[in-house]
């Protein structure tokens, strides 16, 4: 399937970071080849330097980063020795690239067709009319609905998946020998991701390109990779065929990464009679309105449409859905950061949906939240101990006592009491998430809502935080409402799963039922879209 001579050959590449960075080299002595007709996946967690070599290939290294050793051979010449002008002649023509953020990767002021035509213009190909025709053909090829309309559209009129298709059309416009895809599906929903992966695989096979695919997600690797290169701290940890690396990882780090991926093995439900419900949500509705003007009609988005479910004491309920499904709104309504339009939210007999003002403030300690973004969830100006103690203090606990509690909580989440006097910026993402958990626990809440609490973390860290949550659940018999877009994470930690789409509950049941015998088409679609699932099924 692969030709003997590689299209791209990276030899002992070392890239130096500017002084003052957290390490000296972005990548060190990295060597790999990408051959015609293969997809090489470069995998690594954040900070592994996985994108850097690709930037060197494109001649798009960030300012201050420079190559100090090695070579990058493409078509017999060392790309590192090219002048900017020579490099430019390769970009777009013989090497195409797509990026992570489809929402910002297109010029917001230019029509899609013009942006594609620019690729031809940059390399002096075809004339005006012909450029448009070819752009149209490309849009058709990448499967954009109504390409004749899309060509005249501005980027903001397209969805994220469609924009990524436009990016792919641009990258492939001049039929490059090498395509570099830098986390091209990371910002997309799981079903869109599946479609884009399909498209890339399809185009690659049809055109026989060499593809360098950069990702952090082993599921994606299992979907597309011919060969895999695992990176850590700027060095290659393991390099081999997809089968070797995924099935028989030789290096501990690769093994740890693969093990950290939440598996499809679903823990058994704890048996026993259902205790009485702690939280009962009945017919919850929430509509977001953009306010219209005098002549402008108001726009409405139904974020929650007749949502009902219940959560028992000590139970973990998972809310699963793609972006726009209303899952986050549901969580925000339960903690009363949003006010539902109608319906009731009863927590052990108290209807939270009806409370306002001071009455609400006094009940707030009963439901707490763990937030998504470890960098935004702590006030940069407050010491960690104070951040945790704020809650008890606002509820009348004396400062000294609240600070003592904070120390105990920090011990509990595995950070140690010394953390109280430090500022958030001294901690890593995973550690901050532990602080966030400690803060949520500080008020002894009856219910904790975790909103995408592990989504922003690298997979190995994610596993640790999930482990901590599991441990705390047992120890403190927590009741948890766990909101996530990641079905595997949900499978691992939840007793009950609720699948949401367009503000409605599509399916709910025990984790086993939902995963092994989904009754709704949408649930099946979501499950099928999980990257790497086929591979795992084969392994099992």
């Amino acid at each position: 399937m692969t030709d003997a001579t590689p299209v791209l050959s990276i030899r002992d590449l070392t890239l130096a970071l500017p002084k003052g960075a957290d390490r000296d080299y972005a990548v060190e002595e990295v060597s790999y080849d990408v051959a015609r007709g293969e997809i090489l996946c470069v995998v690594g967690e954040s900070g592994s330097g996985k994108s850097m070599a690709a930037n060197a290939v494109m001649g798009l290294l960030p300012k201050g980063v420079r190559a100090t050793a090695g070579e990058v051979i493409f078509d017999g010449q060392d790309l590192l020795t090219l002048s900017e002008k020579q490099h430019r002649q390769l970009r777009g023509l013989r090497i195409g690239m797509i990026f992570q953020e489809p929402m910002t990767a297109l010029n917001p002021l230019m029509r899609v067709g013009a942006q594609i035509a620019e690729v031809f213009e940059a390399h002096g190909k075809y004339n005006g009319r012909e450029r448009q025709d070819r752009a149209l053909a490309l849009l058709e090829e990448v499967g954009i609905p109504q390409p004749d309309r899309a060509i005249r559209a501005y980027p903001f009129q397209l969805s994220g998946g469609q924009r990524q298709r436009v990016m792919i059309a641009m990258a492939l416009a001049l039929e490059p020998e090498l395509l570099i895809a830098d986390e091209p599906t990371t910002a997309l929903d799981v079903t869109t991701q599946a479609q884009i992966l399909e498209l890339i695989r399809d185009l690659q096979q049809r055109r026989g390109m060499a593809v360098m695919f950069i990702t952090h997600d082993f599921g994606v690797v299992a979907e597309v990779a011919t060969r895999v290169c695992v990176m850590r701290y700027g060095r290659i940890v393991e390099l081999g065929t997809a089968q070797e690396v995924l099935d028989n990882p030789r290096h501990d780090y690769t093994r740890a990464l693969l093990e950290a991926i939440p598996s499809n093995v679903i823990p058994d439900i704890r048996e026993g009679e259902r205790p009485q419900p702690l939280l009962e949500v009945c017919h919850l509705h929430k509509v977001f309105r953009s306010r219209g003007g005098l002549f402008k009609p108001a726009r409405e988005v139904r974020a929650l449409d007749d949502v009902s479910f219940s959560l028992a004491r000590g139970e973990t309920v998972g809310i699963v859905g793609e972006s726009g499904s209303g899952k986050s709104t549901l969580g925000r309504c339960v903690v009363r950061l949003e006010r539902p339009d109608s319906g009731s939210l009863s927590l052990a007999g108290t209807d939270l949906s009806a409370l306002r003002g001071d009455a609400l403030r006094r009940e707030r300690h009963r439901v707490q939240m763990i937030f998504q973004d470890p960098y935004a969830s702590l006030n940069p100006r407050h010491r960690v101990g104070y951040a945790i103690a704020q809650g008890p203090m606002a509820n009348g606990v004396p400062r000294a006592q609240a600070m003592r509690q904070a120390e105990e909580l920090l011990e509990l989440v595995g950070l140690g009491a010394v953390a109280v006097d430090r500022f958030p910026h001294e901690f890593s993402g995973g550690q901050r998430q532990r602080i966030g958990i400690a803060r949520a626990l500080a008020l002894n809440p009856e219910l904790i809502v975790a909103d995408e609490a592990v989504s922003a973390l690298d997979v190995s860290i994610q596993a640790q935080v999930l482990e901590l949550l599991e441990e705390l659940k047992q120890k403190l018999s927590l009741s948890l409402l766990f909101i996530t877009h990641d079905l595997r994470v949900a499978a691992q930690i939840c007793d009950t799963i609720i699948v949401m789409q367009h503000g409605r509950i599509v399916e709910q049941g025990t984790a086993k039922e939902v995963f092994l015998n989904p009754s709704e088409a949408y649930t099946r679609q979501l499950l099928d879209a999980i990257p790497g699932r086929a591979h795992e099924a084969a392994m099992a």
Partner: protein, 325 residues
């Protein structure tokens, strides 16, 4: 259709704002120490009992406040800004006679400052960290920090007193009786100093803003995409960076309109340019507050018109605004 609706909306808003300014003027007159009639008449008119009586009657100063307010508002609604005792003319006529000169001066200065500012700003953005780029920014900072009236005075000293290149005062040579092209050239010659001085300050603002905005835009993902296409730096700079960077400049230009009026007052005062800024200075000196308030109202109206125009331009430039939202 969309534009028509927008213009109607903006005009309605403008009417509200202008109405508020009238009320504001009215409150000012009430709050001012002393007899409102005397204030309206100014010091010069204070001695003339007949004029004061006339004023009291016109504004109903012996009537309850709401009647006074009603008379004042309805007067201005009928474009009756009252009488300037000192100049012996209706305020409206005075303002209208001086308006073209101000429009010529501010219009020229606006075009000059925007054009040169964007040019200098993009040059500075392309030369970050280079001496030439730093020099542009240093000059911009100095012009930004220099009092406008002082630049005006110093340019008079330099260019008309010492070098004798350009006329320092007025809008045309008095008594020369030029007509046709000669007249245009004469006015243009008189326009050079005031327009350049007025433009310098605003040019500094646009230069700084353009540079910052372009540096910001050049960090965006779409610029990386453009580079990945193999486009030349020149095309990227012009088509991708500058175009996006201009959007905030349009907004800024709208906000600067009010400043431009302030600048015109100072420049016209120094260069004896016969516009409404100079008229305002004269009104100040003669304590002709009725005229002063009239000019104030009029300058606010000018700014509002200009804001509506920049709003429309922004909508033309940014496709995202046309579609709903």
């Amino acid at each position: 259709m969309l534009y028509a609706r927008l213009i109607v909306m903006r005009l309605l808003k403008a009417v509200v704002v202008l109405f508020l300014i009238i009320i504001f003027n009215f409150i000012l007159i009430q709050l001012a120490p002393g007899d409102p009639a005397a204030i309206l008449a100014g010091e010069a008119g204070a001695t003339d009992e007949e004029f004061l009586r006339q004023l009291r009657e016109r504004f109903g100063l012996d009537q309850p406040l709401y009647v006074q307010l009603w008379r004042y508002v309805s007067g201005i609604a009928m474009l009756d800004f009252g009488w300037s005792y000192r100049q012996g003319m209706p305020v409206l006529d005075l303002i209208l006679a001086r308006l073209p000169a101000t429009l010529l001066l501010t219009g020229t200065a606006f075009v000059l400052s925007l054009g040169l500012g964007i040019l200098a700003g993009s040059m500075a953005a392309a030369r970050v960290k280079k001496p030439s780029g730093s020099l542009i920014m240093a000059l911009a900072l100095i012009f930004y920090a220099t009092p406008l009236f002082w630049v005006a005075l110093m340019s008079v000293v330099l260019f008309s007193v010492y070098l004798d290149w350009l006329p320092a005062y007025g809008m045309y040579t008095v008594g020369a009786g030029h007509s046709g092209l000669a007249y245009v050239l004469d006015v243009a010659k008189h326009l050079v100093l005031p327009a350049t001085t007025l433009a310098l300050f605003f040019m500094a603002i646009y230069t700084r803003m353009t540079r910052a905005s372009m540096l910001e835009a050049s960090q965006q993902d779409y610029v990386k995409t453009a580079r990945a296409k193999g486009l030349s730096p020149r095309v990227i700079q012009r088509r991708h960076i500058l175009r996006n960077a201009l959007l905030p400049i349009i907004t800024l230009a709208g906000l600067q309109a009010g400043q431009m009026v302030g600048g015109a007052i100072l420049t016209e005062t120094v260069f004896a340019w016969p516009g409404i800024g100079r008229l305002m200075f004269e009104a100040l000196q003669q304590r002709d507050y009725n005229l002063l308030l009239g000019i104030f109202f009029f300058s606010a109206a000018l700014v509002i018109v200009f804001n509506i125009i920049t709003d429309l331009v922004y909508r033309l430039a940014d496709p995202r605004i046309k579609e709903g939202s």
